[in-house]
Every structure is written in C-alpha cells, then in structure tokens.
C-alpha cells in the first residue's frame, strides 16, 4: 500500500525549494522535471512512489506521468539501489579491449550479476552502453566518476575502496 503521508513529509523543504528554483529557470513548469528527479533521487538513491506523487503535485501532472519518465531514463531508479553504482561499459570499443572479462571478474569478486546489489547493500553492479571513454577502455563508472584504462586488478581495488 502507498502511504498517505503528506507531500511535505515526503519531500523536505530544502528539496522543494531547490525544485522551485529549477522551475523558475524554464519557460514552462514541467521543463524542470528531470532536474527535480535528479534532486529527489539524490536523497535516497531512487524515486519512491510517494516521492513521485509529491512531484506530480508540484508539476501539476499525474503520478504515472512522473513514473513513465523515471522508467524511460537509465539513470533514474524506481527501487532501492546499492550505496554505489559500479558500471562497466560493454559497448563495442570497450568490448574489443576486454570489457567483458573485466565485468566477469567483478561479478565473481562481488558475487553478484549485473543488475544485482551486494548483500551488504554496498554496490549495485551493472553494465552500461557507451560512456564516451572509447579510447581509454576498458573503464568503469563509479557513481559520477570515470576510471579508465583499467586492468582487472585495478578494477577490484577500486570497488574494494568503496565504503
């Protein structure tokens, strides 16, 4: 069941204020929906149904219109994620330079398949399409940071350092 918490409790005042500042930049209110989703997702790492409903009220649209945007874009999540995202680019330039071996090594190292989260909630592993690092392959995206020109050992060390 969806909780009936008041929207104010679902989105803190600071987030609401930040969303209103985004809205002010656009010719139409709805233009700020993606920036607002980035802001809301920064709180808990995903967009909950309650948060989507609160956003729908702010943007004067239906909750399903918020969720269809969430589901359309790869970087928005509708369920809890690990504390860190570790993505291996497996598109062609990276695959030609060993990205699949790198992904396979991280799967065994972390004991999860792509799309899964480690039991301790630390890392969600995934593979991603081209990240614009084609000459520096293979590579990882860890949250907002790129690590390029990696070998398997370096990749393991990078994920081991994540708290």
């Amino acid at each position: 069941m969806v909780s009936e918490a008041a929207p104010a409790a679902v989105l803190p005042a600071e987030t609401r204020a930040a969303i209103e500042r985004e809205i002010a930049k656009y010719p139409q209110r709805r233009g700020a929906l993606l920036p607002a989703l980035h802001l809301v997702q920064a709180e808990r790492g995903f967009i909950s149904r309650e948060q989507a409903r609160a956003l729908a009220e702010i943007f004067e649209i239906r909750p399903i219109e918020v969720m269809e945007v969430v589901s359309f874009y790869n970087m928005f999540y509708d369920r809890p994620q690990g504390r860190h995202h570790v993505y291996v680019c497996t598109n062609l330039p990276c695959s030609l330079r060993g990205a699949r071996q790198l992904l396979g090594a991280l799967e065994s190292h972390l004991g999860v398949k792509p799309g899964e989260t480690t039991k301790d909630g630390r890392i969600t592993l995934g593979h991603e399409e081209c990240l614009g690092a084609c000459a520096y392959a293979p590579m990882l995206r860890v949250d907002e940071t790129y690590y390029e020109n990696l070998d398997v050992e370096q990749a393991r060390q990078i994920v081991d350092r994540l708290a």
């Binding site: 010719p27 709805r30 233009g31 993606l34 062609l92 330039p93 330079r97 699949r100 399409e129 907002e144």
Partner: protein, 432 residues
Amino acid sequence: MGLEAPYVTGYLSEHFAEGDYGTLDGYIARGGYEAAKRALTQLTPTQVVDEVKASGLQGRGGAGFPTGQKWSFMPAGRDKPKYLVCNADESEPGSFKDRLLMERAPHLMLEGILIGAFGTGAEKTFVYVRGEYAESARRVQRAIDQATARGLFGANILGTGFRHDVMLMRGAGAYICGEETGLLESLEGKKGQPRKKPPFPAQYGAFGMPTTVNNVETFCHVPHILRRGAAWFKGIGTDKSPGNTIFGVSGHVARPGLYELPLGTKLDTILFEHAGGVPGGRKVKGVIPGGMSMPILPAGMLDVPMANEFLRERKTMLGTGGIMVMDETTCMVRVGCVISYFFRDESCGQCTQCREGTGWMHKVLNRIERGAGNPDDVDLLLDVAGKMEGTTICAFSDAAAWPIQGLLRHFRADFDAHVKLGRCPFPESFAL
C-alpha cells in the same frame, strides 16, 4: 579527471594541453571572445549567419547539415521567444570528442553559442549535457557562471543591448535524446521520444518556440570562422567538406585517442600514420568510420578520404567521426550482437518497425553466434533490416539497420560459416 588532449592538434585543440585554457582568463588571454565581440559590435545578425553560410561549416553531430543554412531557417522578428539548444548529449558509441571539448574548452563552445544566439536572435540557450558526463557538466556550468559574471551573458552584453542567457540541463541516460526532437521532449520534462517532422524545430521547437539545435563541436568551429573568415575555413578540408574535425580512434589500435585533422584525411593515414596501426603485428579486418550507426568498411577500402562525398561512394558516412578498428581475430557476428543489443536497448519504442525490428535482429544474431542459426537466418536479417529503413518517425531505426547491413555486405562469409559449422569459428575473437 579530465580527458587527455588530442595526439594531433589543430585550430580547435591547439591550446588544450594548457590547463588554464578552460578558465575564462586563460581563454581570453589567447584571443577568446574577440570573435563574439566583433560579431556583436561590428556585424549585423544577417552578416553573422552569412559568414557561417559562406564558410560551408557542416554540423558535427552526425547528420552533417549546413550550419549557416540551419540558422537561416529561424524566423525573423521578435514576436515570440527564440531558443538555441547545444546538443551535448554525445552518446554515439565510438564518439568522445564533445566530452573533450566541454572539459578542455568550455568557453570556446560558449563563445560559439553567443555568436549563434546573436545571429539567430535567440534569447536563451539550453545546453543539454548527457547525464553520465558529470565532469563535463561541472566544467561547463563553471564556465557559464564565469562568463555571466563577466557580462558575456545576461542583459546588455558588451553594452550592445543584446540579451542572452545560457543554462545547462543534465539528461538522465537515453541515447535517443541525441536526436534533436527527442532532446526537445526531454528538455520539456518528458520521455525522449522523437517528434514527427514537420513541423521542424525552427518553427516549433523547445516549448513550442522557434529553436535551433547544434552539436558541441559545431559551436566550437564558429568563433574560429568569425575570427579568421569564411575563406580561411573553406581552405581547409575538401571542397564539399571544409574544416577540421576531431576524430576519435578506438578498438584495436596502438594509440587510441583523439586526432584533430582536416576532413578528407584518408582513413588509412589516420589509422597507420597517426594511431600506430594494429598492435601485435595483426592485420585490420574492418573499420567503422563514423560511430556505431555507420556501416563498416573492410580492410580493402581504407584508402577513403574521411568526408561524406567519398564515404557515401562506399555506402557509409562520416557520422560523428568515431573510428572503431577491428583486427583479424574479430568475429563480425559478435560485432553484430553488440551493435544490435545497443539498438534494442535504446529504441524508444514508439514505432513498431524499430521496437520489434531491433529485438528481432538481436535475437537472430545471437542465435547465429551460438551456432543455432538456420540456413535462412542471414536472409531474414537482411529482410528485417530492409523493413526498418525509412519507415519510422526518426533516423534511429535506419541507424540500427545500416550497420547490420554493412556487416552482411562485407562479411557475409563470417555469418554463413557460423550457420554451416554450427559454432563460432573465431576462437580468438573478443569475448561477448
């Protein structure tokens, strides 16, 4: 961390190794914003558009449309707001030049935007940066803030009375938002599903207003054209494809990286003289010349000048200049599997031919790679690809069909061998 400067530099990238070129003062110290000053204080908007038209600059985002002509489609008059969009949603596999430009030369891009805004009479520019490019977004935002604080954006720019604001928006991971009308939908807070055209963005663009969308690199050429003149620009490259571009070279080469070279530079020159050829003494098998949407060329066709008028003769295109090299160990069916997975994953789902066709191609290619292909599967692939071409709202479906058609045009033997043997005959190929 930022991207390395190109191995070969030219007028776009000559200062990229100098760290302060990305700052406002460093950029101004090297002549930055002089072209914009000249445009705003000495030229009329029509003269600006005419200069870019005369230069023959073609868009560097993949389609190669003449930039000056695109600008001239914007309606005159001030009865409604007009917008520019800087398409910084670089996501074409094999392409990473716009990331370099934003990280190393954000003010060059912004100066191009300012000149374009003056030429088209736009009141605002939206810079749409792909969500994954967090570092690019940080550097561009810092540059916008610096330039605005210095009076280069905002009200009454350089005392001319011209007003222009720039704002950055981050995408959230969707290849289709690089398609200009998909981008406009995303900018409006919606799913990035491309619009039917007409109406074209110059009539009905962002938020329903006249809009011009240009790629990051395209804007970066503009200050150089205004500074040195259309005739100078036309003297670089080929007659029909003037100017430099920044090629990205990846895959099986000794020196993968970025190379700024004139359009019309031969593909084999880029690969062997600049990028050091294939390592390990192996031979080239095939090269994708312009990002993943563009059909592959076999080893025997690499003496082609990298400009559309020559590439078209070989049934491919320049695209975004992302060059991907595959050596002789490479299984071209696996290449097809990777390509079709990408397009299946990124299809926005609006049009049946694309939504279903990308899935079919992926399924059939995987079946062939597994050794479970039927004798008529190769023809089935050609049939599906043929039905995806020219039948949908946007060019994504064509972009998904072309590379598979290209693989079958030049490497059909790889596909037939899989079906005949019931397994993949390329044990040393890259892993899937």
